[in-house]
Amino acid sequence: MKKQLMKIAFAAFATGLVLTSCKKDKDETETNDEEVITTMKLTFVPVGGGTTLTYQFEDADGPGGLAPVQQDIVLAPSKTYNVSVQLLNVTANPVDDITTEIEEEKDAHRFYYIPAAGSNITVSNLDNDSNGVPVGLTSTWTTTAAATGSIRVVLRHYPGNPPGKAAADAVDSPKSGTDIEVNFVTRVQ
């Protein structure tokens, strides 16, 4: 009886040892983080005709890894542009257009365009959400004399429920958090 018990116990132990087959090779790939925004693309349509310009910030492999690639925004002096912004996730296949998500939840998002002093760019006419508070998916940029400067483009997200977004909210309002913050070099020339 005792011997048998011993045998059974050791057999159980030994079987366990044999059961160890390596199975780290999973078929799945990294289910990509749908929260990643890799690309912010600004499209400039000159008022009164002319070539449409696009400038972008792209971190093609998401945060970490390779460094992002960022273009300078080059605009003509004394001109007005209708600007639209597009957000992409190029790590997804097919590429994910995140702009539509923002479009759907306008009252919880807001773009800020903050040119540095002396950049000779003003941004106005941001589009509004359903409550009449700016979203900034589209805007109007006006340039004056030639200058080199910079512009900070910030996308804020209101996690609250309700979001409590208000026109007076500053870019660093504690009510909202940062989804995007990019500093572009601008050249009006």
Binding site: K24, I37, M40, D59, P68, H157, N161
Partner: protein, 768 residues
């Protein structure tokens, strides 16, 4: 507790009265052999004492029914009914005396086993309804690492997470313990006993217990026919938390070898209130249950255990940070923005974490002659999901999703006592499979570990010597599957050695002196090797380091304990110095920020240094009046980075506690009544890394603070049921404070006044 109606069946004289009843008595909680216990047969009046090994023997008994009565200074009286028809052997487990203050008396009578510190029955009772770590922090030298008030991890002498092993019901807990905001996935109500083990006994569980081993042990299954039930309930005013926990256990009269236990806990708390404001989304919910079944015969016993732990914990949204600018704004604000404050609710929204842990184990023990063997096979499955704040409110999936399955086997052998030697040896095997989906933080991996250990204890007169050695070999094969189909494979193998020697000397009954030295080796964890991503709680970019080597620690301890024979005074003083070669920690790299679309994140990278952690723990008790006792505890820690001659970051600060307890006289139906007041002082952490070469922390350590707590408890007999009522008030003065080891200290104050009510209803029945 319960008495048996003794029915002695007078047998005819024709029967021969030549039966032998032998037995063995052990303390149910400490499993120490009980010497000098009185064993009495009520019917015959015969009385014997247990010998040094806890053994006793009655001879020349007539067949019949007897009532055995066993008493011991440190245990409650126990009675047991026996039907004797042939020679019989009994193994008796005696529960500790339930008297709260009696615990101290017990310790003075029975020296603690070397290297073990156990939470007292009273402390365990007072922390019912709190987290496992909060209960453990009643042990001197154990502090907390917290994320808000709902997530807490134990810290032993400055070390936590994968430097501590948690042994849940004999099985090494394998969850996602590497993360600072990953609390142990264990129902505290499972624990009949909580202790911290250091030294030689650590080796049974692993070679990597640099900070020590935490043992969570349920009470042994019922050892008398009948059933018992216990209901624990509690309510806490601060976050309107209620808790219910129930146990049912039974030993069948017809099949006395079989016994089982069912246990379950439900806990729900609403949003936490600080003295000035209520924090949104800090509610939590927990539902756990366990089933144990055992079969016990003289030469063979087996136990099957299954437990499930499920929790959902809200994270304060004001701490979920988009980028560094936001973080600095949040940190510099005096208090969180009103949008994150004021809701009184039980509901949990993003961000939150949801964790489940399942454990199934089968453990069998059998004896071959004087050799004892134990085989334990266990499977664990841990599923951790973290739900971040997301852009789209229609998104229901977690952003971090980690599953880890672990299979462990342990075989141990206890050899027969040879002269003054006892000892054991064992082998253990573990394999583990981790997989993730969603955001990358650690890779998929498969790892296996094979280990073997041996330890010997020698006891003679005033001396006890222990020594042991353990070796583990560990393989980790990792694979990261990138979004574009690329795979990144890294394979590691580590071998780790541990050894320990310990000596205890008891020159006279009140004194006990002990010293020991332990070598432990911990292989780097997967997150330390390969983590790569943004940590939203701290707005940092965390990066692993594949070149890390195992860290080796040499921990020397010494202690002296004195228990005055008058029981009016006791002292326990411990000193330790833990030198850790190649200590793994996170080093900020202020020159290499990681640029992302959300701005630049500071980089912190895992790196190694040589560390020295040394300090002392002192505990004193004194009876000021016959019923008034004072207890003082002091804990001091120094944590040095030896390579850079600097202090280590995130180490607990010095603290001391004073407590006065008044024990009322038992009166009529009222028993074990006491009232106590405690005052804890936690110093500001003054030993932080030098910041002249770059910032190491976002905010200077918070100021020192003092907390007052009150506790009162009484047991009253309602019929046959002894009801225990307890009231506890934490943070009596509603003090506004922040703690250095709480990552929420950057954003919010700690929990304000919290009044807890507890009720325990034990129901016992020995006859059914």
């Amino acid at each position: 507790m319960f008495l048996f109606l003794a029915v002695w069946v007078g047998e005819s004289s024709a029967q021969t009265c030549a039966l032998t009843l032998s037995g063995h008595a052990e303390d149910l909680d400490t499993r120490e052999k009980l010497a000098a216990a009185t064993v009495k047969l009520q019917e015959t009046g015969q009385q014997v004492f247990t010998d040094q090994n806890g053994d006793f023997r009655f001879t020349n008994l007539c067949p019949g029914t007897y009532t055995l009565e066993i008493t011991h200074v440190s245990c409650d009286l126990q009675t047991k009914r026996i039907v004797l028809s042939r020679d019989q052997h009994l193994d008796l487990l005696l529960p500790h005396a339930r008297k709260t203050l009696g615990e101290i008396v017990v310790e003075s009578q029975q020296p603690k086993p070397a290297g073990r510190q156990q939470i007292t029955a009273r402390d365990l009772e007072e922390t019912r309804g709190k987290t496992l770590a909060e209960a453990l922090s009643r042990i001197n030298g154990v502090t907390l690492l917290q994320t808000g008030s709902t997530i807490s991890k134990p810290v032993i002498h400055g070390l936590h997470s994968s430097r501590l092993l948690t042994i849940n019901n004999g099985v090494r807990q394998e969850g996602q313990q590497w993360g600072n905001e990953h609390a142990p996935e264990i129902d505290p109500f499972i624990a009949g006993k909580l202790s911290v083990v250091k030294g030689v006994d650590e080796l049974r569980y692993g070679s990597d217990a640099i900070g020590g081993v935490i043992l969570v042990e349920p009470r042994p299954l019922r050892d008398q026919p009948g059933y018992a039930a216990e209901l624990n309930t509690g309510y806490f005013t601060n976050n309107r938390q209620y808790v219910m926990s129930g146990v049912w256990e039974q030993q069948l009269k017809k099949v006395p070898a079989f016994r089982y236990r069912l246990q379950g806990t439900f806990r729900q708390g609403g949003n936490i209130n600080t003295p000035d404001y209520r924090l949104n989304n800090t509610a939590s919910r927990e539902a756990n249950f366990s089933v144990t079944a055992g079969w016990k015969k003289e030469k063979f016993n087996t136990e099957v255990f299954y437990s499930q732990f499920n929790t959902k914990i809200g994270i304060f949204p004001g701490s979920h940070i988009g980028n560094l600018t936001d973080l600095l704004n949040a940190i510099n604000a005096e208090k969180p923005d009103p949008v994150f404050l004021g809701q009184q609710t039980y509901s949990i929204n993003r961000p939150y974490q949801q964790v489940s842990h399942q454990l199934a184990k089968i453990k069998s023990g059998f004896s071959l002659g004087e050799h004892k063997f134990t085989v334990s096979v266990a499977g664990q499955f841990n599923h951790r999901r973290e739900y971040d704040i997301v852009r789209s409110s229609s998104n229901t999936s977690p952003q971090l999703d980690l599953s880890i399955a672990t299979f462990t086997e342990d075989l141990s052998w206890e050899h027969p006592r040879i002269g003054n030697f006892t000892g054991m040896a064992g082998v253990s095997f573990m394999q583990q499979d981790n997989s993730y989906s969603g955001r990358y933080f650690i890779p998929n991996y498969f790892s296996h570990t094979i280990g073997a250990y041996a330890l010997e204890k020698w006891r003679k007169h005033k001396w006890e010597l222990q020594a042991g050695v353990r070796y583990d070999a560990k393989n980790i094969d990792t694979r990261r599957l990138k979004f574009n189909g690329d795979t990144l494979d890294y394979n590691f193998s580590f071998s780790t050695l541990a050894a320990s020697v310990q000596a205890q000397y008891r020159p006279s009954a009140p004194w006990s002196i002990q010293t020991g030295i332990s070598l432990s080796t911990r292989a780097p964890y997967v997150n330390e090797l390969l983590s790569d991503g943004i940590h939203h709680g701290t707005a940092t970019y965390e990066k692993g380091n594949i070149f890390l080597k195992p860290e080796r620690s040499l921990n020397s301890t010494a202690g002296v304990r004195y228990d005055a024979p008058s029981k009016k005074f006791s002292a326990d003083w411990q000193v330790y110095a833990n030198y850790i070669h190649d200590f793994i920690y996170q080093q900020p790299r202020p020159d290499e920020p990681v640029l992302t679309i959300a701005g630049a994140f500071p980089l912190i990278e895992y790196t190694q240094t040589n560390a020295l952690l040394y300090g002392t723990d002192l505990a004193l008790t004194a009876k000021i009046l016959p019923r008034l006792e004072w207890e003082g505890k002091l804990s001091i820690l120094y944590a040095k980075d030896r390579s850079r001659n600097d202090w280590l970051i995130w180490m607990p600060s010095n603290r001391y506690t004073n407590e006065l307890t008044y024990q009322f006289k038992d009166k009529g139906r009222w028993k074990d009544s006491y009232i106590s007041a405690s005052w804890q002082h936690v110093d500001r952490q003054r030993r932080v890394p030098d910041e002249t070469n770059g910032k190491q922390d976002y905010k200077a350590p918070p100021a020192a603070y003092d907390l007052i707590a009150l506790n009162a408890s009484t047991t009253v007999k309602a019929g046959n049921v002894p009801l225990t009522f307890g009231i506890g008030v934490q943070n009596l003065l509603n003090t506004r404070y922040r703690d250095y080891l709480n990552s929420m200290r950057y954003f919010t104050d700690e929990q304000g006044r919290n009044i807890g009510f507890r009720l325990r209803v034990p129901i016992n029945n020995g006859n059914k």
